[in-house]
Amino acid sequence: MRATLSLVRREFSAYFLSPIAYVVFAVFLAVLGYRFNETVAQLSERGPEGVSFPFQFMLTDTWFWLVFLFIPALLTMRLLAEERGSGTLEMLLTVPLRDWQIVASKYAACFAFYLLLWVPTLFYLPVLAAAGVDLRPALSCYLGLALAGGMFLAIGLFVSSLVRSQMVAALLSLALSLVFVIAGFWRSDLDTGTFAYRAKAFFAVPLHFERSFSRGIVDTRQIVLYLSVTVFCLFLTVRSLESRRWR
């Protein structure tokens, strides 16, 4: 356990030694800050315009999803691909840790960093509370963001375990994650009552935030999807690492 924690600590601190983490932080907070500024402008509007659900307003923006897609890819691309590319993976596999512990440590570290990205947004809450906004939807929103982020990170980690190049890992991870995002922007004319819409809405993460999490609705379909894909991808990552032993 101690070794696992030590690995988590190492991986987590490694982020702060790389400029990419700061770039991620800066871009992510700049986009969110911009959206928050827009939200504040709406909240302090005089006249019949405004926002009912500030988190919905902040998150239902194409720019946000563009940035959100890149973040897991950037955070996970180096996790195993770098080790593979630099040849340190074999060394890592020799430490007294099981494969799943290595995968879990790496995943925990990047997940912790991902959560850390959201921490500054907690300072938005007092401002929203001052506007009389119901903060309970913020809880569901953070829950959704944590789970959805976790899913994209797991996808990124799995892709990172397959290739040597960090760039390829990032691009592949982006392409796979895109499946869950792009559906949200396709066929907006579909009726909510149709099966096609329900099928689309099942996969489309931006739609989950637009209609559910950011408005205080927690739907088990979405939670099950995020968790199951996360577990499946982590399982595949473990198997991917294991495969090196018998190849």
């Binding site: 400029p19 800066a26 396709w186 009552g193 927690v218 739907d219 399982f235």
Partner: protein, 815 residues
């Protein structure tokens, strides 16, 4: 050999992988087709299906190849791993399939705004039939009555559409039997969507095509119900414009929509209006008298799913109107029938004249002069042509020879010419009358009078009216009396007087618990005409009195009218009928106790009529000029003082909660509203301390109740022993006969028609309620606050990240 096998295997793997990639490419193309071109129903599923089949086949081949090579190359470990992966993938699919169909939704909002009330969920869960909810958006103002929409209407529409969609989706969450569609006329593919939605449902197609405003349609089978968006959320423009101008909506609850879903098979309510002349009814929409009719009310009611029809209670002929019970078509048919009979007689007369003249003409043209002279001769003295027999008879009678001369050719020519000239107008008149008669006959054929012959056989008016009212859900009885007292315009009370049999049928209608709205204008007669029944109230007014209402004998005059009554000079009053009078708008909002006589009035009941509340809330969604457009000239005060057999006797207070419309305060109740040479109507307060000072009838300043409604106990005295007493009925009384009149109604008037009808019909859920207030959250920020937020929450965090990143970069460079 081994090398050869290896090459074969490699080639096979290569082609399997190529096939797999091709399948994947085709699948992506299929999804793209579906997503962009909307070919989900067409070619895209075939492509996607084919591609998936190919991928599955390739995976199977790959798995078989892996299994085949297991022993040889990778061993049991790899096959075990492949199995585990396949199982995990299967589990992933199964878990998500299960979760797709079996899911829970938790509403974490503070006010549970995405959760239907438990009682509704329970009732809706019992529904089994498929129900479709169509939100139709032609983008009209959220209050359909508004004629001058502004930015508040636009903002309210956007919010309410979103909220209604949320509400409809909550129904959808109850199961797949609920389906929600949004039909936005501005959206791409609107026509295709409309065609798809209405395919197989002409009822829905008809309902959508007749809808002029944002409407929610609820369809199940052949049944379609409708609901306005404003029935779920009301815009409160008055509240919105206060302070910072935040949008304020009033939530009416999920019940209106749920009730429509639960009662989707409910029939359309039928409203009958009992009028003494077709001009006053729903169908008068042309001609100079169209403002006396109720065609505007008809448009509003039919547009909201009501069925309306006229019952004409008098037959107008040359003399006094006779009591009757006719539908509009029957009335028209009777009129046409009379006209047809007149035209038929006229045609016969013209034909007779024509035949006679034509026969003479023929005779003069064809007979020889000798033959003519055998029969005819010319009386020389008078110069006229007469039969010889007549001359002989006259000679015998007078005993004197009459000088005659024979007919010559020049006479014959003259006669032929004269007869030909005479024939022309008769021929033309005959043609015209024949055409008119045929047109009348064809008009008669076009009328729906299937019951007329049966009705004619029934001589009993009571039975006739009972039969006519049997399928009506609401009866409106309007009596437009005073129009302009200065000009002496109006309809005298006596023409409205109904036959006792008709009164009895109206009482039967009420005894059945059905609602009636009486719109009864003032009964004051012009000076010099005294009608004792008008002064005391005719039989219909007595019926209304027995139900607990008190109909005042005065007319409400407004201070602004005084000028039009002219100037009073010693011994003479100069009337000024041309003076433009600005009548103040009617009120829907007043202080408790308003309108009560005496000082007691100051402490009135705070409870208000649901109709008044609804009208007040609806008025708040209109702009101030629209709101003030409803003005009634010459109304009468009406009161509800309590029901029962001794209703209202000796009471001098009315029930505050029954009032739903008041006159403006700048008015008084005038027993003699007509200005004369000797008297100009003016406010004359009763002497203090007299009984009149504290009575409802005593002259006093406004406001006055001019519309009241109550659920009354039908008097026991109306029932015979065998009948069941104890019935209650909803009754409304408006102190003006023209409250619903006009070809085009004002926004407030439209709302009045709808709210009054809905309440009387027991559709209380469609009346606007105060409801829960909704508005956007607002942040009142000072300039410093804005700067601080911008610095510390917008620019600060990313700038700090860049700063820290730069430091790390520098540190790394140092190493």
């Amino acid at each position: 050999m081994a090398l050869s096998n290896l090459t074969k295997n490699t080639a096979r793997h290569f082609w399997v992988r190529v096939a797999g990639l091709t399948g994947l490419l085709i699948a992506v193309a299929g999804v793209a087709l579906w997503a962009t071109a909307g070919l989900w129903v067409g070619i895209a599923p075939v492509i996607i299906g084919g591609a998936v089949a190919l991928i599955v086949l390739v995976m199977e081949m790959a798995a078989a190849a892996a299994a085949g090579g297991t022993v040889m190359r990778r061993g049991a470990v790899s096959s075990n791993a492949a199995g585990q992966i396949a199982l995990a993938a299967l589990l992933l699919v199964l878990v998500n399939l299960f979760s797709f169909t079996h899911y829970l939704r938790f509403d974490w909002t503070g006010d549970g705004q995405f959760t239907l009330p438990a009682d509704l969920r329970e009732q809706l869960a019992q529904l089994r039939d498929e129900t479709r909810i169509v939100v139709f958006l032609p983008h009209t103002p959220i209050n359909p009555q508004a004629t001058h929409p502004d930015n508040y209407d636009a903002a309210a529409e956007a919010q309410i559409v979103e909220k209604v969609r949320d509400l409809a989706e909550q129904f959808q969450e109850l199961g797949p039997r609920f389906r929600v569609d949004v039909l936005d006329v501005k959206a791409k593919g609107y026509s295709d969507k409309l065609a798809e939605l209405t395919k197989g449902s002409p009822q829905l197609a008809e309902a959508i095509s007749s809808a002029k405003e944002n409407t929610i349609f609820i369809q199940s089978g052949d049944h379609v119900q409708r609901l306005g968006l404003q029935d779920i959320y009301q815009l409160d423009k008055e509240e919105s414009k206060k302070g910072g101008g935040n949008l304020v909506l009033r939530y009416q609850g999920a019940h209106p929509l749920a009730n429509k879903v639960l009662n989707v098979e409910e029939k359309r309510p039928r409203v009958a209006v009992g009028v003494i002349h077709e001009v006053l009814g729903f169908d008068n929409n042309e001609g100079i008298n169209r403002n006396l009719g109720m065609s505007g009310a008809k448009k509003v009611l039919t547009g909201h799913g009501f069925e309306v029809r006229d019952i004409i209670l008098k037959k107008w002929g040359d003399g006094e109107p006779e009591p009757a019970v006719l539908t509009r078509d029957e009335n028209k048919y009777e009129e046409l029938e009379d006209r047809h009979a007149r035209l038929e007689t006229s045609v016969k007369d013209y034909q007779k004249d024509y035949d006679e003249i034509n026969a003479s003409l023929k005779k003069f043209k064809t007979s020889s002069l000798d033959d003519l002279n055998k029969e005819l001769c010319i009386v020389v003295e008078e110069g006229v042509l007469v039969p010889k027999k007549e001359v002989e008879a006259a000679e015998k009678k007078i005993g004197k020879k009459i000088e005659t001369m024979p007919l010559e050719e020049k006479h014959r020519e003259l006669l032929v010419r004269n007869l030909s000239v005479q024939l022309v107008p008769i021929e033309l008149a005959l043609k015209r009358e024949t055409q008119e008669r045929d047109a009348t006959a064809s008009q008669m054929k076009g009328l729906n009078v299937e019951n007329l012959h049966e009705q004619r056989r029934i001589t009993d008016l009571h039975a006739k009216l009972n039969r006519s009212l049997a399928d009506a859900d609401l009866l409106i009885v309007p009596r437009l009396t005073l129009v302009n007292v200065v000009r002496g315009l109006g309809i005298p009370m006596q023409v409205y007087r109904l036959d006792p049999a008709q009164i009895s049928a109206i009482k039967d209608f009420i005894k059945a618990g059905k609602p009636v709205l009486f719109c009864l204008g003032p009964t004051n007669e012009p000076p010099g005409r005294f009608d004792p029944e008008a002064a005391m109230g005719d039989a219909l007014e007595q019926v209304v009195n027995q139900l607990g209402f008190r109909l005042s004998r005065e007319t409400i005059l407004f201070n602004s009218e005084v000028k039009s009554f002219g100037q009073r000079r010693p011994g003479i009053v100069i009337l000024d009928p041309g003076e433009k009078v600005e009548i103040p708008p009617t009120l829907f909002d007043w202080e408790p106790g308003a309108g009560q006589p005496g000082i007691l009035g100051k402490t009135g009941d705070k409870k208000t009529s649901p109709v008044a509340t609804s009208l007040r809330i609806a008025a708040r969604s209109l702009s101030s000029d629209e709101e003030s457009q409803f003005r009634l000239r010459h109304p009468r005060p009406v009161y509800y003082v309590g029901s029962g057999d001794r209703a209202g006797e000796g009471k001098d207070r009315f029930v505050d909660s029954s009032v739903f419309m008041m006159s403006a305060a700048e008015s008084w109740n005038e027993p003699q509203p007509y200005p004369t040479a000797k008297r100009v109507p003016h406010y004359e307060p009763p002497k203090p301390g007299t009984s009149a000072a504290d009575s409802l009838e005593g002259e006093r300043r406004g406001p006055f109740p001019i519309a009241v409604a109550a659920e009354v106990a039908v008097p026991k005295s109306w029932f015979s022993d065998k009948e069941l007493a104890g019935t209650r009925a909803r009754i409304g009384v408006i102190g003006h006969g023209g409250a619903f009149s006009g070809d085009e109604l004002s926004p407030t008037q439209k709302q009045l028609v709808l709210d009054t009808s809905n309440w009387l019909l027991g559709r209380d859920d469609l009346l606007a309620r105060e409801g829960a207030l909704w508005q956007f959250p607002r942040l009142d920020l000072s300039s410093l606050g804005k700067v601080l937020i911008f610095l510390f929450l917008v620019v600060g965090p990313p700038a700090l990240s860049v700063f820290l990143g730069a430091i790390v970069f520098l540190v790394r460079r140092m190493r």
